[in-house]
């Protein structure tokens, strides 16, 4: 079934493109045994998708739409959050500058290189911020904050 939230056209400005990500399978993975998983604040390939380390014992798994739950051996907890989160990509030469409007982390390449991920805030809204390339970020937020976040980013892009 269609997800009405994700129907907006991408926002394109000079050096900036903001778009919803396609549907994905997402799990919150919790375990004390981080074997095969990235260390805190890092990301890595994982089971056809990615594992993003958000806490010392917490990973966000983002897998392709339709993926089956991954097999994980050690004691763990896996919780479906595929519909809780909504993803946005922010790409372009000014992507970092745009996110910097509402995010209080230093997004220079030296302190926030590609691959780094963390939970943080944008304009008071909790997000997961993942730098997927030098000029490309993925932002995940909870569904009910997504419209606000999208509007805030679009306005900031207008005024950048």
């Amino acid at each position: 079934m269609a997800d009405a939230l994700l129907a907006d056209e991408p926002v394109v400005r000079d050096g900036i493109a903001i778009a919803w990500t396609p549907p994905a399978v997402r799990y919150s993975l919790r375990t004390r045994v981080p074997s095969g998983l990235p260390r805190l604040l890092a990301s890595a390939r994982f089971a056809d998708g990615h594992a993003l380390a958000l806490g010392p014992d917490e990973w966000l798994l983002i897998l392709p739409d339709g993926a089956q739950p991954p097999t994980i051996a050690p004691l763990h907890a896996l919780t479906d959050i595929g519909h809780r989160n909504v993803g946005l990509t922010v790409a372009g030469d000014r992507a970092a500058a745009l996110i910097q409007c509402g995010c209080a982390l230093d997004l220079s390449l030296a302190t926030f290189p590609p691959g780094k991920v963390t939970r943080t805030l944008y304009d008071g809204v909790e997000i997961v911020l993942w730098r997927t390339g030098e000029a490309e970020f993925r932002i995940e937020t909870w569904r009910s904050f997504a419209a606000y976040l999208h509007a805030a980013l679009a306005l900031a892009a207008d005024d950048l």
Partner: protein, 953 residues
């Protein structure tokens, strides 16, 4: 060209005239002018009326230090800005400004009568005069004072401008782009570091802009900075310095443009985090304190130099100077060389620098040493001065049209002080300078006290042969504080400079003491018989200069004021004409009126539908936490009052959460999905708080437990079907679940599919009727809702909102945490002691339930109330008393927590907490309201279907 414009001087472009309106009068200036310089070029000195006495005032300065020339700038509807300094307003076409604080006009101000009555307005006059009778404050004194005083008008229309913000991260932030700041930037520019240089003025250069000999160097330096990638921001004021290298700065983007051409955001707030900060904020020249030193035409010497060199404007044709400091001489020499007449240089010092004397002599200037100005003359502009040799009564008058003051320099240490930097007294400067160290922050240039303008003396008010009580010598021009006021404050017993400041208002408000603090301190020190460093300085607070609310609010207005969380069904409710209410950050449908229904009619219809047919409710906002791990049951057992270990998978339980103090914090239903997995629900408003509390215990008290918590509030849309026909609505769409009462009884849980998508199904009821809560992945929520809505049409399905939900649950006496409980209610108080596991040895809050206070019989307990008048709905929050018409103070024994008209019962019902309430069931109590005292009968907090027979439809 006007008589005061000096051809060939200044950085302005006289070839580009700029038309503007000042108090409705059309005037012309030049590109590059400020409003102040353009007014002076037009011969206008009178620019405002003073705050308290409505005395005529002129320009004192040429920059942000200006205390007098506060303007209202009108850029169209909603774009009125009050209290803008004329010295910082860049002239542009269509600039429209009005002076403030005068009525009916600047030239003729009736308020000036207060000047004649000024003996009635001493320091602290508000505190003394308007104290009695108290009632007159609101009705008489305050409105009258507000009309007379105040700075500017607050705009009434909504500000249509946009404001933006960004975070900046730099290795080095330099505040102030004068010589020192630029040199610091040049020194760092080759390092490869991220360097940012900000300055409040439209042009970088600071006082170099008033020094043509340095313009070539300045241009070269700025080019080098640009080439080196240094970020240079003009029109950017550092308003505050905070911990850990954090500086707030406001960049003004459009105010300097004609309104018609201004696009984009008006201002940008920079939140700058810097590894190192260099404060190169310069120094401000100090005025001198003497009788009638506030007359238009009395200015800072440095300002006259700025007007001359930067704007090509003469501040007068015959200018006198009162100096206590060598720096005034250079100004006199520059003015003289520009052909401006110098009436005299009056210097309080007996012994003058021979080279200055020689230069003055060469230029033919009259130099009067060891003398002081003791008064000024003129009505709305200075026409002359009176001076006297120190210690002598042999006064002399000199005609002039401007009087310049050179009283030395005060380092601009505001930002240093914001960061709690220490200050030390520099005797040679007669000022406080930064002292000691501050993490990340250093000062340089004049801000650090590195000023070499020659020597000077620094005293309090200038000597006068007249009785100091007989004249006004202003210390703080903006707040109309005189030396006499400060001395009076000391006489009245104020000792601390902070108290003197507040009593006299010296250095307060938008000015932040830029020109007044040091002089005020010196006067106070003199009166106290102390030295200035012993008396100390008042605290500077952000913002350094007035800042728009817009800049601070940024984009947080209208739809972006804060997130409005909407469920996936919100759009459907909106299309159905739902009336919404806000619950925490959520927007929830409150009721669904049809045609001309009001809320009561809609709620009555919705209630009847649920009780007799089927209703449909969006419960998606309920907090949800998935609790997973082998110790999940153990963890819940420790958190909640109820026992969880024996709960079988496929069953639900009402859970009650206490704080460690034993009071109710939250509640909700939890289902055991599997041995190691629970789906826990919380109240809508409590979701984040409960998860945080659980994480706290899990991480810090019981880190050995193998269990993890995940918020799934937004993973699922929750559709509640409530009413005797609820099963009929979902049955055709459900796969894989036996919905029969035997297979899925009340408080059972099952997983299956609905409308082809995965479903978590709860057989629960918050209405007392047969109920199901269908949880589906949120992205499918709207489609499932619409399918069930369509299915329900033949069963007369009715959508209901939170108001009906409240009424239905109140009829059943189900509490809402936070409405019927207030943080002082125990489970027993709430009548839900049954939810406390009696055999459990421990859970959060259990120990507190055994405290003696928790066992008292007269604790407030939840009861029902039935009014004698069945049509009267009690007000929620209304107090309850035992005896009507008792003498005040009447003992209050409780209050109404929930109150509604019950369509089911055809009468009003209420829940309340009443001291010893359960023992009072059947008794009559009273609820006094403004109109009358209402009789109520205490009842069980359960009004409908006591047996619970309807839960099975």
């Amino acid at each position: 060209m006007s008589a005061f414009r000096l051809p060939g001087r200044g950085r302005i472009d006289v070839a580009r005239p700029v038309a503007f309106r000042f108090d409705g009068k059309a005037m012309t200036g030049a590109a590059g002018d400020t409003l102040a310089s353009a007014l002076l070029a037009n011969g206008v000195h009178l620019v405002g009326r003073s705050f308290k006495y409505h005395r005529p005032r002129g320009l004192l300065g040429a920059g942000v230090e200006e205390p007098n020339a506060l303007m209202g700038v009108d850029r169209g509807p909603g774009r009125h800005t009050a209290n803008v300094r004329a010295t910082t307003i860049e002239l542009h076409d269509d600039l429209t400004v009005e002076t403030q604080n005068r009525w009916p006009s600047l030239g003729f101000d009736l308020g000036a009568a207060t000047n004649l009555l000024s003996p009635l307005f001493p320091a602290g006059f508000y505190n003394k005069t308007f104290m009695w009778p108290r009632s007159a404050w609101e009705t008489l004194y305050e409105p009258a004072i507000r009309r007379m005083a105040g700075l500017g008008k607050a705009p009434h229309a909504i500000d249509p401008d946009r404001y933006t913000a960004r975070h900046d991260f730099v290795d080095l932030l330099i505040v102030g782009a004068g010589r020192a700041g630029i040199e610091a930037a040049l020194a760092a520019s080759a390092s490869g570091e991220r360097v940012m240089l900000i300055d409040e003025q439209p042009e970088l250069g600071g006082k170099l802009l008033a020094n043509p000999a340095r313009w070539d160097w300045l241009a070269g330096a700025l080019t080098r900075l640009d080439d080196a990638g240094v970020v240079c921001l003009s029109r950017t004021t550092a308003i505050g310095l905070y911990h850990d290298g954090f500086v707030g700065a406001v960049e003004r983007l459009t105010d300097h443009l004609p309104p018609a051409t201004a696009t984009g955001p008006r201002e940008r707030l920079h939140r700058i985090r810097a590894a190192r900060i260099v404060l190169a904020t310069g120094a401000i020249e100090r005025p001198l304190v003497f009788a009638d030193n506030d007359r238009p035409g009395v200015m800072l010497a440095s300002a006259a130099r700025t007007y001359l060199h930067r704007y090509g404007v003469a501040v007068g044709k015959r200018v006198a100077l009162m100096v206590t400091h060598d720096s005034g001489y250079q100004v006199a020499f520059d003015l003289a060389e520009a052909g401006i007449g110098i009436a005299a240089i009056v210097d309080s010092r007996p012994d003058l620098d021979p080279s200055l004397k020689a230069r003055a002599s060469d230029l033919g200037l009259e130099l009067i040493p060891h003398a002081v100005v003791i008064g000024t003359h003129g009505a709305k502009a200075v026409t002359g001065i009176t001076l006297a040799p120190l210690g002598s009564r042999q006064v002399r008058k000199i005609a002039c049209d401007a009087l310049l003051m050179a009283g030395g320099w005060t380092p601009t240490v505001h930002l240093w002080s914001h960061g709690k930097g220490k200050l030390g007294w520099d005797e040679a400067l007669g000022a406080f300078v930064p002292e000691g160290e501050m993490d990340r922050v250093t000062c340089t240039g004049a801000c650090a006290g590195a000023i070499d303008p020659g020597h000077g003396v620094h005293a309090e008010a200038l000597w006068s042969p007249r009785d100091p009580a007989s004249f006004k010598a202003f210390v703080d021009l903006q707040n109309d504080v005189t030396a006499r006021d400060i001395r009076l404050a000391v006489r009245e017993g104020f000792r601390s400079i902070e108290h003197i400041k507040r009593y006299t208002t010296n250095g307060m408000a938008t000015d932040q003491g830029k020109t007044s603090n040091l002089n005020g301190l010196q006067v106070a020190a003199g009166a106290l018989g102390n030295t200035a460093p012993q008396v100390g300085l008042t605290t500077f607070r952000p913002p350094y200069t007035p800042t728009t609310f817009g800049a601070l609010a940024g984009s947080a207005k209208d739809a972006l004021f804060q997130p409005t969380r909407k469920t996936v069904i919100d759009s459907w409710a909106h299309a159905q004409g739902a009336v919404f209410e806000n619950v925490a950050q959520w927007r929830r449908a409150r009721y669904f009126p049809r045609a001309s229904e009001d809320m009561d009619a809609a709620v009555a219809r919705e209630c009847r539908a649920v009780r007799t047919g089927v209703g449909m409710f969006d419960a998606s906002t309920l907090g949800k936490i998935e609790v997973v791990g082998p110790d999940a049951a153990e963890f819940l057992n420790r958190m909640y009052t109820n026992p969880w270990k024996a709960l079988a998978p496929g069953r639900c339980r009402y859970g009650l959460l206490l704080g460690e103090d034993g009071f109710i914090r939250d509640d909700g239903v939890a289902a055991r999905l599997a041995d190691d997995r629970f789906h826990v629900t919380t109240t809508t408003g409590g979701a984040a708080r409960v998860l945080g509390m659980m994480e706290d215990y899990l991480q810090t008290e019981w880190p050995d437990l193998d269990v993890w918590l995940t918020s799934t509030t937004e993973q699922y849309a929750v559709i509640a079907l409530q009413g005797p026909r609820a099963r009929d609505v979902i049955a055709p769409h459900v796969e894989g679940v036996d919905l029969s009462p035997e297979a899925l009884p009340h408080m059972a849980y099952a997983e299956g599919r609905i409308c082809g998508v995965p479903m978590r199904l709860f057989r629960v009821s918050f209405t007392g009727e047969l109920g199901f809560e269908v949880n589906v992945p949120a992205g499918h929520g709207l489609a499932v809702w619409e399918a069930l809505w369509a299915e329900g049409q033949r069963h007369g399905i009715t959508a209901y909102g939170t108001e009906t939900m409240h009424v239905l649950r109140a009829e059943k006496g189900y509490i809402i945490v936070g409405q019927d409980s207030d943080g002082t209610l125990t489970p027993d108080d709430a009548g839900i002691g049954w939810a406390v596991g009696k055999k459990k040895l421990d859970f959060v809050g259990r120990r507190s339930l055994a405290r003696p206070d928790m066992l008292l019989p007269d604790r407030k307990q939840l009861v029902g109330l039935l009014t004698d008048d069945p049509h009267y709905v009690l007000e929620e929050g209304a107090q309850i008393v035992d005896v009507p018409n008792a003498p005040v103070p009447v003992p209050m024994i409780g209050h109404v927590t929930s109150s509604y008209h019950s369509p089911t019962l055809g009468r009003s019902i209420a829940l309340a907490v009443v001291a010893g309430g359960r023992a009072r069931i059947g008794e009559t109590l009273f609820v006094p309201m403004a109109d009358k005292t209402h009789r109520v009968t205490v009842s069980e907090p359960l009004f409908y279907d006591r047996e619970g027979a309807r839960l099975d439809g």
